[in-house]
Symmetry: C2
Subunit: 148 residues, 2 copies
């Protein structure tokens, strides 16, 4: 019965297969509106991963930009768009080639930390996720970086 703990929704977006304990980071990235009806499941049972998180947002279809930002904290997540209780689109998130804003450089001496500016990273590897800062050129594993 575990997989039925959160009921289906009529319209909206379901983000499934988020690694356990990452749902709140995903919520931060999505930044739902104050009126959005959101359901979050943390540490739910998953056949594939043992444990997983899941996020559902009613009445909102996430844009590709937002979906790709989710990949930074949930690289194997599935994003499912629902209309009238039917799945109309389902795709794996995909880390973009370049990332602006969401990631904070892990190098305290990097100019992007010293000045009010957008960060900029280049994806050098997707498995594991490795990003190079455009400014200080240091390469980081995603777990070394803060994602906002």
């Amino acid at each position: 019965m575990k997989h039925l703990k959160v009921d289906p929704i009529k319209e909206g977006t379901v983000i499934d297969h988020i690694p356990a304990n990452r749902a709140l980071q995903v919520i931060n990235i999505i930044n739902p509106d104050k009126e959005d009806i959101v359901t979050v499941g943390i540490n739910f049972s998953s056949k594939k991963f043992g444990r997983k998180d899941i996020v559902k947002i009613e009445g909102r279809e996430l844009s590709p930009t937002v979906v790709n930002s989710i990949a930074l904290v949930a690289p194997h997540a599935n994003v499912i768009i629902i209309r009238d209780y039917e799945v109309v689109n389902k795709r794996l998130v995909q880390i973009p080639d370049e990332i602006y804003k969401s990631v904070i450089c892990g190098n305290p001496k990097c100019v992007s930390n010293a000045e009010q500016m957008d960060t900029h990273f280049i994806t050098v590897s997707r498995n594991p996720v490795m990003l190079r800062c455009h400014y200080c050129e240091r390469v980081f594993h995603i777990d070394e970086l803060r994602v906002e």
Copy 2:
């Protein structure tokens, strides 16, 4: 069907009637273990309040101290303890007479902000929630204070 969106749990704690958009603050206060199975509903329908948030934690019974800290962000929340699908205890949260740690003083010149120390507030009113800082003696409405 809205009220059935999150299924009942076998054992654990349900925090109901959290004001809309406050569930993530409640989660921060509860600070669940990495293994806890948590379900969060944001902006669910409520007969009483129009909209409400709800939090469920499986297999964990919250302590009175944690429950009372929840009152700071959800003064009318109900805390329900479940065992074997039955409600064994249900009570309204209650703001304690004195509060340590969770609240950050809103006065930037207060000594509690200048030094590494626990904050300390005295509850001067519960409706509306007004707290007096023990150190700088300034009185704040709860909405003027940061709760961590």
